[in-house]
């Protein structure tokens, strides 16, 4: 667990998307990095509710659900999306 990335803030904890457990949900609070527009194109924006579906082993991608749409994101990207778990 990367403790430096888990801080308490307000109601829920803030984690990297990558660290969500399967079926865990939350709201996106921040998206770092230069590929923001790629993510927003696909519907991942601050304020959106996001749910983790599954992770792939060996540092593989994650599969998430936003707005009833399922998509897959690489680990690097998933680390850059901060989610408030609720």
């Amino acid at each position: 667990m990367r403790l430096s990335h888990i801080r308490k803030k307000g109601i829920g904890m803030i984690k990297d998307l990558y660290e969500l457990a399967p079926d865990e949900q939350g709201v996106i609070v921040a998206i770092e990095g230069g590929r923001r527009h790629h993510l927003t194109d696909l519907g991942l924006r601050v304020g959106k509710r996001i749910k983790m579906v599954t992770r792939q082993p060996f540092k593989g991608p994650v599969v998430v659900q936003v707005d009833q749409v399922t998509l897959s994101l690489g680990k690097g990207l998933a680390l850059k999306i901060k989610v408030e778990v609720a």
């Binding site: 527009h37 194109d41 060996f58 009833q68 994101l73």
Partner: protein, 605 residues
Amino acid sequence: MGHPNVGKSVIFNRLTGADVISSNYPGTTVDYKKGLMRHKGTDIEVIDVPGTFSLEPRDKAEGVALTMLKDNPQARIICVIDASKLERGLYLALDLIEQGHPLVLALNMWDIAHDKNINVDAEKLSSLLGVPVIPTVAVSAEGLSLLMDTLLDAGTPGIAEVGKRLRLAGLMTSQACEGCRGCLLGKACGEIPEHLTSDERWAMVEQIAQRTVTVGHYRHTLKDAIGDYTVKPLTGTPFAIAVLYAFWSIFSTFSGLITDGFMVKAFDLYWLPWLQEWFPGGPGTWIYGVMVDLGHVKDGVWTASTTCLESFGVLTSGLYLEIGVVLPAVFIFYIMLALLEDVGYLPRLAVLMDTFLHKIGLHGYAVVPTILSLGCNVPGVEATRILETKKQRFVMMTILAIFIPCGAQIAIMHDVIPRYTGFVMAYLFLGYFVFGFLLNRVIPGTTPDIIMDVPVYQRPIMRDVRRKVAMRTKSFLKDAIPYVTLGILIVNILYSQGAIDALAKASAPVFEGWFGVPRQTAGPLLAAFLRKDLAIAQLSAIPMTEYQLITAIVLVSIYFPCIGTFFMMLKEGGKAFFGSLIVLICVAFTWVGLLRLVWNIMGVQ
């Protein structure tokens, strides 16, 4: 225009009847296609544009779309949106409205939205945007004629208009406001804007979506559960193993049935003897030898061949190979590929494979060119376009051309060394990963992470499947027959001139010394430049041990792309292609040499 995979190509096909391939993974349409449709007596030109997420071009495909718009200011646009993903599509729609072209919104995949309990108020949406909005289900052609009728009457509202309408819908407070940005974003009134910033556009999108989209209770259905399980690693991997088993098993059985069950008989018992009898010239003449039967010398006497495989005639071996062996294999391959595509399984496979492919510097997307290459290397190399960075494209192109045998090769291998085909394929795949890994390390650059939609499972539309299979098979045949014919012709002529023998003698040290195969493999290797399946067939006619044959076949598969692939690589890779060649030569010597070493260690010849 619209996002990737919203059904643009399907609509295009339904409107024009033109053949375009539509799939649910990105990168299927990379060049725009033009077609003609008849509507109420007039011919209208329709253009299918590659999917774009916005009008800020970020890769080749999007750049193409933007150019299209600029070049055709009079064009009327059908903006296709996935009704179950309205917000995404609205962003592009607003962008297009800003551009000022006459526009109609096709709210496609209405059926899927319905299944997901998502409802979009099309009329409200239309009144807010100021453009007509038509719900469609492209795969069954619903709503399309209405779409076309409306398109011809479409107006050009502009973005200020949209703001105005939103205000009218109850958003804004000030009467004097004419729909400027300020109101939308909760600030003071400002000037009438021409263009919105990205964030502002998204804010507008959300406002519109709030008023038009209602989502019912999301029930997790059986289909969804299976959809999830097939993408989760623990359950998805066994499933993938099963799917791949089915793929290979059906492929084997079908090609075995058609080729061994019928084609061999047809060709060896009817076609060959008939030609041998009827063809002018008769045995011994040059033209007979080249076109029909080269025959062989046994005990000092020239004897005719008994099978099409060994006869080497253009009309005999050539036709037998392409129509008897390769065509059935390629046909069943394309059928299964189209079914897997349409059902929605491929993106899940890509996610499962992404982990491993990332280790060799590629994406899960790379599954697509790889699988395509198993049918024919030419579209496989073409498909490398969907990879984002130059490095990825280079690595993919190189290892595809070197290590992935095309359906034709596999079919002939199956025919010639049925017990070892599996081994050869495994060895090649191993090389694919090993060298992919090495190349990834050696070449500078990083691979971006994967971002991909995972679509809902749906029933494959037989009509589209048929169309895709027909298209792909036809283009395969167009490439195959001329080159095989040419190949056999050239090789036979060279044989009769003794050029092959000279070449064989000259390269003997390499072949016999390093690779451990008889020198006559030089001949087929030459033919391999034209068609690899032909080369493998010719190899089988040269006397050598089984192990030598295996080595030779691996060598043929690796050493040089067939002419079709050669040109495609030049086209896609440009100068990088020569880098590929160098890699190729290195690989040929090392990987095949390694094989020979393995034989030596095992103590076989």
